[in-house]
């Protein structure tokens, strides 16, 4: 079996096995093992030359995100093994949680690797179903509300994306040969000769549909609630993985439409949605009281920045956008690890209840402080590099929009720094009995520091292979 298929089916097989494991410790260990195997396959896949196998393809655009997803999936599994006993799950929910986690990972890999737009749609749908069930897992009214909103809004979103996929096929149908319909590679080949009007219609629906999943304003309202409820590790994979898969789907659609000179230019749509996301999130960040909702809103801001970069188009801006997606995944999941650990230590996830972490939990406090600073776009992490590149390109091409973007970034950065000060350096708040014993403490802290190290390492010394891949991807998506 090609590795591209193995990486999808391994987690799904793992999910079947995990559904049969009722004991927390065994299930968590097995979950880590399956995730580690997935990461190994992802690395092996990245070392192979690009290839297409049936409905899947490995190319410069998806391989960096595939490795990233497998990496975040592994670190999140470790974090989850260390902290899951605090969620108070009975054995049914332990089974459901781990099975849904691996179903989600498999669907995420398939969504990234899919060459066939229909298969990609099905993968994103499966990922949605798995994450909805994880968000609802606590069975509190708030968790139900969040899951319901997530489900209904994303249900409409992916329904629209399917409509867009059908229209896309209708546009390309006269030019396609039998057997390769809906293949992205084939669509790219015939796109210049397709009927431009039909392509326009398809793009609008694909953008609205997958844009909902990517959390772009005005289709974002499910995102903060879904991040705030459910077990903490889910917030990390929602922000770190699912949003990227949706954004990549938008990029594939944009590449097809952009390849046709007579079709509408897809860039301005992404620019507008991206800018709206940044500006709305920058304001909304100031009004949040719940730490996880706060960082959910911050995801909206960062997806907005990435959408702005892709909307601008061209190799330089696209590269900044891809770097931004990578950097955001690393930083945001690190922050969620820190916030999740802090919420355990303080017994609450309200920002006002988490204070003075540096004095009460020094290692956690400093780690979270560095992670939030990185998320705010301060050097030396990857987000600084990507935001700097983006602003440089934008200032040259669209100075007035660059001004608005910079304004949004600065307001959001100020909100993040304010929260950083309150949570890490402010007056210490009383803690709950939240110490984790022995290896659990280390296993809960290690993912955070590992993410920070990788994000810093990539910013300071990006491996040549990865840099070449990203540069090629930036050219591919136009």
């Amino acid at each position: 079996m090609p590795l591209q298929w193995a990486i999808v089916f391994l987690p799904w097989l793992g999910a079947a096995g995990l559904a049969a494991l009722p004991r927390l410790r065994q299930a968590a260990a097995a979950n880590v093992a399956v995730s580690a195997a997935g990461f190994a396959i992802a690395l092996a896949l990245a070392a192979q030359p690009f290839a297409q196998h049936g409905w899947t393809r490995a190319d410069a655009l998806n391989l960096p995100f595939l490795v990233l997803s497998a990496f975040v999936g592994l670190t999140t599994a470790v974090f989850s093994a260390a902290t899951l006993d605090r969620e108070g799950f009975d054995h049914w929910r332990i089974r459901a949680y781990h099975a849904a986690y691996q179903v989600f990972m498999g669907a995420q890999f398939l969504a990234l690797l899919a060459d066939n737009m229909g298969v990609m749609w099905v993968a994103i749908e499966i990922a949605t179903l798995a994450t909805v069930s994880m968000v609802a897992l606590h069975r509190t009214p708030a968790a139900f509300e969040a899951a319901w909103k997530f489900f209904i809004l994303c249900g409409v979103g992916i329904a629209l994306a399917l409509f867009g996929t059908i229209v896309l096929y209708l546009a390309a149908q006269p030019l396609l040969t039998a057997g390769n319909g809906l293949s992205w590679a084939a669509l790219m080949r015939v796109a210049p000769d397709c009927a431009p009007g039909t392509l326009n219609l398809a793009f609008v629906f694909l953008l609205l549909g997958y844009g909902t999943k990517a959390g772009l304003v005005p289709l974002h309202s499910w995102l903060p609630d879904a991040h705030a409820e459910g077990p903490v590790p889910i917030s990390a994979v929602l922000s770190g993985l699912l949003l990227n898969a949706a954004m990549l789907a938008v990029l594939r659609a944009k590449a097809v439409v952009g390849a046709n000179p007579e079709a509408i230019a897809p860039g301005p749509f992404l620019l507008a949605l991206g800018l709206a996301s940044v500006l709305l999130a920058a304001v909304a960040l100031w009004r949040r009281r719940d730490a996880r909702r706060f960082f959910g809103w911050s995801s909206i801001e960062h997806m907005g920045i990435a959408a702005f970069a892709f909307g601008l188009g061209g190799a330089a801006a696209n590269l900044a956008g891809l770097l931004h997606l990578l950097g955001h995944s690393l930083a945001k999941s690190a922050v969620f690890f820190g916030v999740g650990r802090a919420a355990l230590a303080k017994g609450s996830q309200k920002i006002s209840d988490i204070g003075g972490l540096v004095t009460t939990h020094p290692a956690l406090g400093w780690g979270l402080a560095v992670a939030i600073a990185g998320l705010a776009g301060l050097p030396p992490m990857l987000l600084f590099a990507s935001e700097f590149r983006l602003l440089a390109v934008a200032a040259a091409e669209v100075p007035w929009l660059a001004l608005a973007l910079a304004l949004g970034m600065v307001v959001a950065m100020a909100a993040l720094v304010t929260v950083l000060q309150a949570m890490c350096f402010g007056p210490a708040t009383p803690g709950a009995a939240g110490t984790l014993e022995g290896w659990r403490e280390a296993a809960a802290a290690a993912p955070l520091w590992l993410h920070l190290a990788v994000a810093t390492g990539l910013a300071l010394a990006m491996p040549a292979g990865l840099a070449a891949m990203l540069a090629e991807a930036a050219r591919m998506i136009g």
């Binding site: 229909g118 609802a136 489900f151 209904i152 249900g155 329904a159 996929t165 809906l182």
Partner: protein
Amino acid sequence: MSFGQLGYDMAHLLGGGVLLLSFVLLYQRRIGAVINAFAMQGALLALAAAWAAHSQGVPGLYLTALLTLAAKGVLIPLALHATVRRLDLHRTVETALGIGPSLVAGVGLVALAILVVLPATEGARALAREDLALALSVVLLGMLMMITRRNAISQVIGLLSLENGLILAAIGVAGMPLVVELSAAALVLMIAVVAAVFAFQIRERFDTLDTASLDEHRGERR
């Protein structure tokens, strides 16, 4: 295939029937009647799929027709009726926008769908583009229903009828690859939505599934 030929006329008639039932969904005042109208729409959609299987010579579409008939014509409506009974929900439809204005808005949306689709798809075959215009109308009417109805059950039915529009679009595009798989996957999503309503009901935490009152559980109210 063009106007006056049986394959074309029949596909048109069935597609138009599905659209007509979207309007029927909009003007019902009782939940039970909404569910019944949805069941009829599902049955008609199944007929349309079966006709497409026959006229396009794609036997796989018979499977789609069968699944649609079983799920949307029978099982989902039964489940929804059971939910309404078990939860003892309000039997009347609570509207955010009155019935009359909803219908006017619906007519406007159909006009919009035709104005958007027909010029945009000039290259495609007549049946495909007209089917697409009908399908987009059904999709938009489903969204309208989700926006203008307050209780969760009617919103779910709005989403379900929106998905009916998708299936209508997919079967109208002759030669669409994976059409059976995609429609089955979409059906799984819809069944999961209905199951989610059930899952909420089992907990019996809410007096109502009215989504406005769900808002009060949000963590950020002071």
